[in-house]
Amino acid sequence: MQDISLITDDAAAGGTRTAAPPPPAETVPPSDSVRGLRRSAKRLEVRNLNLYYGAFHAVADVNLAVSPRSVTALIGPSGCGKSTVLRALNRMHETIPGARVTGSVLLDDDDIYARQIGAVGVRRVVGMVFQRPNPFPAMSIRGNVVAGLKLEGIRDKKRLDELAEWSLRGVNLWDEVKDRLDRPGGSLSGGQQQRLCIARAIAMSPNVLLMDEPCSALDPISTLAIEELIAELKHDYTIVMVTHNMQQAARVSDQTAFFNLEAAGKPGRLIEINDTEKIFSTPEQKATEDYISGRFG
């Protein structure tokens, strides 16, 4: 996986992006620099986030910070609000009528909930990968990878092809699909489809990459492939992932946040957030320790 030397923020750059020259077939030299401009991985900070579905208070008082180029895992029992919080990080909760948020989410120093910023703009710089792989069936594999770019208006075919190859190499899928880029997106296995969805997300060069239980729908071998991929991706992206699998959080993440519900009908809360090693060996809160040792959840 190339090491993207972080150059400038896209706001200053004016939005043009060119891809890395394709690396030699077998090895990917880690210190290749990218010619051109790409969006940089940013620091994510959540301040006093509360989320409501209509009158129902779903999540209360979340404060957390994610360093650039690291992986943060959100863990907790079902229904504790971790997926809800994840969706609030790229304003995807707004697709549900009646959902609203108070508080702020900062990318470096920009609040994504500022009045003059629309949800569409936020989602172009904060990407998301979902639990069930969802490639677009009406598009080819190549079309899927560059879908976000095309729909944003980038038309130059050569550049799109370069970016497609770069993204597919980035998710370790290039060798498997390079001969069938024009086949429909649905013709791959589950694990390959999920990697395709990740390629689609990183083709947009996101400041932050969100992953909502990316491995739950996959078999163990594909899960391992994705976990290895995340370990590579974290050198270039800020990643926040929700997982219900504690061992996965322990394997993959640098920082872990534990969410919990006091009782049904009460809002979910962030109980504890710390380095992964500390959370899994010496957690500070009793609820965290109970959850990790399997006493509930």
Binding site: N90, M92, T95, V120, G121, V122, R123, R124, V125, G127, M128, F130, R132, N134, P135, F136, P137, A138, M139, A147, G148, L151, E152, C197, R200, A201, M204
Partner: protein, 302 residues
């Protein structure tokens, strides 16, 4: 251990075994009887359909030939010979106009119903369901009063009337197909920072497209066979081929009607051939629609 007791059990008649499982015999008999009744009903239904097709084919093939498809009817309906060329061309033109009018509006309405919803959508859906049941002669009368009175009989008026017949069918099937598109795809597109409108046009519609095409073709097949709405709008033209839709035009259905109600054997022979042609055209459209649906993997009405 001897196998003899087991052996005896296996040779026992049905009643002996079922005695140990209460009610089995009665249920088994009911099962067989109901199976038989349903089979008979199905055979009767298929038989009826086959009989209708065979009868039309039998009567139609007596006269159907190349001259039927390439000539217009004779000036005097009692004369033999001629064909329904003007009707075939008229059907294509009028149905084409109807499709051009109803499909864009129908798909747009379906998009609104599925993607936006709300009270207006509920009212629209209700009205669409009512529109499906409006008798087509009433549709024809409406277009007569609203259009023909001002602009005269024409192929366009016929197209408007057929378009009104097709519209609720297109809306319904397009809505169904759009709903079948998984919410996951919309979410994936929105998460890439694509606007809702772009998502609908570039992701949802293409995914639903083959299903929508199927629905449209079935609506066209239905419209091709309509006669009542055309009686008061296109009016018919039994004499020569007319390509200009601003003039009155004939369609296959109108010509069948016109020729069948005369008492002349020659005219009725032409009408039968016309009926067979119409049935074949509708059948071809329907089969093509289903093949498209199957090839794309989307099953209509699942």
């Amino acid at each position: 251990m001897s196998l003899a007791p087991l052996d005896r059990q296996l040779k026992e008649p049905l009643s002996g075994v079922t005695g140990r499982f209460p009610g089995s015999r009665r249920r088994h008999v009911t099962d067989v009887v109901v199976h038989g009744v349903l089979l008979l009903v199905m055979i009767a239904t298929i038989g009826l359909l086959v009989w209708v097709l065979a009868y039309v084919a039998g009567q139609g093939l007596k006269y159907l030939g190349p001259q039927f498809l390439t000539q217009t009817p004779p000036g005097n309906p009692s004369h033999a010979g001629g064909g329904f060329l003007n009707g075939i061309i008229g059907s294509v033109i009028v149905t084409g106009i109807a499709t051009l009018l109803s499909v864009p509006f129908g798909i747009a309405a379906a998009i609104y119903l599925v993607e936006y919803g709300g009270r207006l959508a509920r009212v629209t859906r209700f009205l669409t369901d009512i529109l499906v049941g409006v008798p087509t002669i009433v549709t024809g009368a409406l277009v007569y009063a609203a259009w023909v009175v001002f602009f005269g009989f024409s192929g366009i008026a016929g197209g408007i009337a057929l378009g009104l017949v097709m519209l609720p069918l297109v809306i319904r099937s397009a809505e169904e197909m759009l709903r079948l598109v998984s919410g996951d795809l919309r979410e994936a597109s929105l998460a890439l920072g694509v606007t809702k409108a772009r998502t609908i046009m570039s992701v949802v519609l293409p995914t639903a497209s083959s299903g929508i095409i199927t629905g449209v073709m079935l609506a066209v097949a239905r419209a091709m066979g309509e006669t009542a709405p055309l009686l008061l709008t296109a009016l018919g033209n039994d004499l020569f081929v007319e390509f200009n839709p601003t003039k009155r035009m004939s369609t296959l259905s109108l010509q069948i009607f016109g020729n069948a109600i005369t008492g002349f054997k020659a005219a009725q022979a032409r009408a039968w051939a016309g009926a067979l042609t119409l049935v074949v055209m509708v059948l071809l459209f329907t089969v093509a629609a289903r093949l498209i649906a199957r090839r794309s993997g989307v099953s209509r009405g699942r």
